[in-house]
């Protein structure tokens, strides 16, 4: 059937034309990769691998020290968070439910992000304001920390 012969032939021609279009690009890419690989001698490649290994060792060491520091800082800020939580509980009646919930979430987030300075500021705020002042002070605090 001429119709099916045409479609078969067109399929072959199209595939060959696609191959003819892309084959040089693929071959070029392969040649470039091979050239880049062979550009350095075996000694040079070994030296580069060694430099990479040294860098990895240093980075692993630094990452470990950072983790240790973070753990220490978290331990410290958790103690402050416990204190501020205590203050929040005693001051809960003087705050709106939204403010209390927001302060509680803020304390938890401060521990996660090790935001000591702002948590300390909240502690000072609870510590230095009396019953009437604490709610507006908390409102202002959260306006500033937004």
């Amino acid at each position: 059937m001429p119709q099916s012969l045409f479609s078969e032939l067109s399929l072959i021609y199209v595939s060959f034309s696609v191959l003819a279009l892309y084959a040089p690009a693929v071959l070029g890419a392969l040649a470039l990769a091979f050239f880049l690989y062979r550009r350095h001698s075996r000694l040079e490649r070994r030296r580069q691998k060694h430099a990479r290994l040294r860098r990895d060792i240093a980075q692993r060491g630094q990452a470990r020290r950072k983790r240790l520091l973070l753990a220490s800082q978290r331990g410290n800020i958790r103690e402050l968070a416990r204190l501020v939580h205590g203050q929040l509980k005693t001051r809960q009646r003087e705050l709106t439910p939204y403010q209390a919930q927001r302060a509680s979430a803020f304390i938890e987030r401060a521990v996660v992000t090790v935001d000591f300075d702002r948590l300390y500021a909240l502690h000072v705020l609870f510590d230095s304001n009396d019953a009437q002042q604490v709610s507006p002070a908390v409102e202002t605090f959260f306006e500033h920390t937004r």
């Binding site: 070994r46 060694h50 040294r54 020290r65 220490s72 402050l80």
Partner: protein, 169 residues
Amino acid sequence: MPLPENIARFVARLINTMKTESADWQLAHQADLDKLREEKLVAEQELKQRLELMEIRFKEECKRARLEEERQTENFTEFLASIDDMKANMLEYYGAMPKPMALMIHHHAAELLKDAWHNPDARERLRNQSRFTSLMLAVTEDLTDLSRDGAQPKALPEKTIAFMQNKIE
């Protein structure tokens, strides 16, 4: 004679000529080829030896680097422990000192330590190392003043607080 046969003969003759030429050339340059082969073998041996030596040197270097990192981490852990001890001592010896203040001093020291070890700028690192040492010195002086006989006991570690407020460099 049909055309394909002609082409076949031509191709066969061409291959034959090329083979003969190549054999003649190899025969004429046999000595050079042997020499080259020998030089290649020597070069391969040398490369192998150099790679082996390099491998040994690199393994040693990696081992040293790992040990150095371990040592640095140990030092760092000791510094962290000293900060924790400092906080505990402050809370123990200054009975009237509010706990958040001790926590603040701990945080300040930890931040200085972080910058002293991890700041990408070497000059900043050095500056923070010196500031960290000064802070720890101020803490030690405050604690020593407390235990000095005849001295009026202070309610707060004044030198440490002054240092943190940048009054003392």
